[in-house]
Symmetry: C3
Subunit: 269 residues, 3 copies
């Protein structure tokens, strides 16, 4: 569901990044133990995906490897690839935790961190993209593109490995999201399903949208071309946006027109 306001105060909000990660991981394990006790049918699943792992990056790497593997791309290869990448750069796990928080606190339908970790294909697609992006920047392009393709098959989310994506991202529902090669997405952005950040087909090179911090893009919105969506802007569901949208401004319709402007920054920006 579209993100609501922040509803829960996190006790760890003021802690450092390592503490924050440790707290979220301890919450996830607590939730998994509670759910495994209450639902024996899930006990084995929760053990293999969460409770048997010593860290969030191991749990996530195992889960992603299982989801994205095929008869020709083995889960063990993917597990090693994800774990190596997440272990190589602390900023990656920090972004993962920010994404977990984004779902937990901006989506009224998200009941727990483990709900997001296990079940949100937008979250999982975004984490796989973070790995694909690392591979792309290391010129391991064939592997990055193979990963993009598996994510598109399995989650119906198609993010080019070169796209730059911030942290605290909520891809809600996520089916049909397409993000082009030169797109940039800031921090604390919420993007609903069927959203396209695409090109107009008329240019090559830098040809995709730039999405500012704290933007909300409604379901089915199509944003095309190297346009700038300003900080805190809102793009209405079903809009077709071919123009820049100023900060804290709402755009709606096909073609989109600007309809309102919020004078004060919101807390998500």
């Amino acid at each position: 569901m579209p993100p609501g306001d922040l509803r829960l105060a996190s006790p760890a909000r003021a802690r450092g990044s390592d503490d924050e990660e440790a707290w979220v991981w301890s919450q996830i394990r607590m939730e998994a133990r509670r759910d495994a006790d209450a639902e024996p049918a899930l006990a084995s699943y929760l053990y293999s995906t969460i409770l048997s792992h010593s860290s969030l990056e191991r749990s996530l790497s195992f889960h992603l490897g299982n989801k994205l593997c095929s008869s020709t791309l083995l889960s063990t290869l993917l597990y090693d690839l994800f774990l190596d990448t997440f272990s190589s750069d602390p900023a990656l796990l920090s972004a993962t935790v920010a994404d977990l928080r984004a779902a937990r606190f901006r989506d009224p339908a998200c009941v727990s961190f483990s709900h997001c970790l296990l079940n949100y294909k937008g979250f999982l697609a975004c984490q796989a993209h973070r790995v694909a992006y690392q591979l792309w920047t290391q010129a391991r392009r064939a592997l990055a593109l193979a990963l993009q393709s598996r994510v598109s098959d399995v989650f119906a989310v198609d993010i080019h490995p070169a796209a730059r994506i911030g942290k605290g991202i909520l891809f809600d529902h996520a089916t049909g999201v397409v993000v082009g090669e030169t797109a940039v997405i800031g921090n604390n952005v919420s993007i609903l399903h069927h959203v396209t950040l695409g090109g107009t087909g008329k240019v090559v090179g830098d040809r995709h949208p730039k999405i500012g911090d704290g933007v909300l893009v409604g379901a089915g919105a199509t944003i095309l071309g190297n346009v700038k969506i300003g900080v805190g802007a809102k793009i209405g569901a079903g809009s077709v946006v071919l123009i820049d949208v100023p900060p804290r401004t709402t755009a709606v319709g096909n073609p989109a027109r600007l309809v309102g402007r919020k004078e004060r920054p919101s807390k998500n920006e």
Copy 2:
């Protein structure tokens, strides 16, 4: 394809519910035998999915279990879960049969009941949702959410387990359908692909659309907020609906406006 008019009279139309279910199941078996004879490449598939089973609920549970299983959620666990649930409440199987009839008689491209049972991912997602809904009402929420997530991965259909859905439902093509937590869908409703029954993001609580009996929602329509779509209304393809739509009225456009009203109820209402 969008639903056409009723084209075939069912000989079982006037029978009781048990007779109706028995008749549909006997048709499905007859169709499977005919197809297995005509197409040896499918014989083993049709035997394992239909002909080896003693009832519609067993066939459906086996097929759903196979489609939705993963390396961590085993098909046998899912089979038992589906069969236990379908066996626990006769209203569930009655709804399944009404959904099979909806596809067979409202979709010109549906050539047989077995075609729908085996191949329509909208039908299969809807049956899995009926099970997830039962789990949700029994407070087995972690399992209900895991099932929702598998359906979203496998069929690209994302229905919150708490959503209330009637019978005689046709989710045609179904890719990208999203139905929110507090949405309600009446009986004999046809919903095309890419349809969202979502929230506006501004409210929590009861925040999703209520769809009346006999409504037709065209491809790509986005209906947002706790709005009421009246009995027999039609929502045009690509519409963005943020307002109530009166009974037997057509809404089109972005934002949607009301364009016409049918004075007499149709036979589907």
Copy 3:
């Protein structure tokens, strides 16, 4: 990404069809060898999907069989079915090669022929459709419909087996594409994701769009009814088209209106 202009001249452009196929296959093998050498994690995958095969039709049949198989539709059965069909009619492989060229030369994000062959689910769905269409015309309808369903599950692309599709087709991103039973798509057509070529729900029989050569249909466009989209026309993203569109004319909006006409044919027509 939406198709750009032709950027590369193919040395084989002027050759015969057999030469062209041989050249593209030799390019694919060269690319796969290069990528396997550079990326050991992909070596085994590239060997099994490309380098171990003696022809493009064998490689494609293996890859499609692996992607589309399930526990009840075995990959070996699908491999034999695809290979038999591709081997039975040289026009099929010629269309495959034209589709590979369409992605390579019209999509700025396509870096190689093997990138398209391995990773483009729109390309793979289109090849599977060519096989399903052959089955449909041979009255093997149950198998054709089973194949359509698997493609819809795996790639989220739903093309009725009776739809007639030309060659040089680019289904870019492809998630959510729906093509109805009586739709016709000409040659050198580019269709983005979430595009529907559907019916209005009011008629049976010949009820779906006819798309001329060289047409570009933008992301999320919905074209409904037995309407004609003329040669070289462009349909804007998010449009809802219920009317004929003349050749070389652009249609945009919901409902779509005609906004411009190009006087001279482009090179893609």
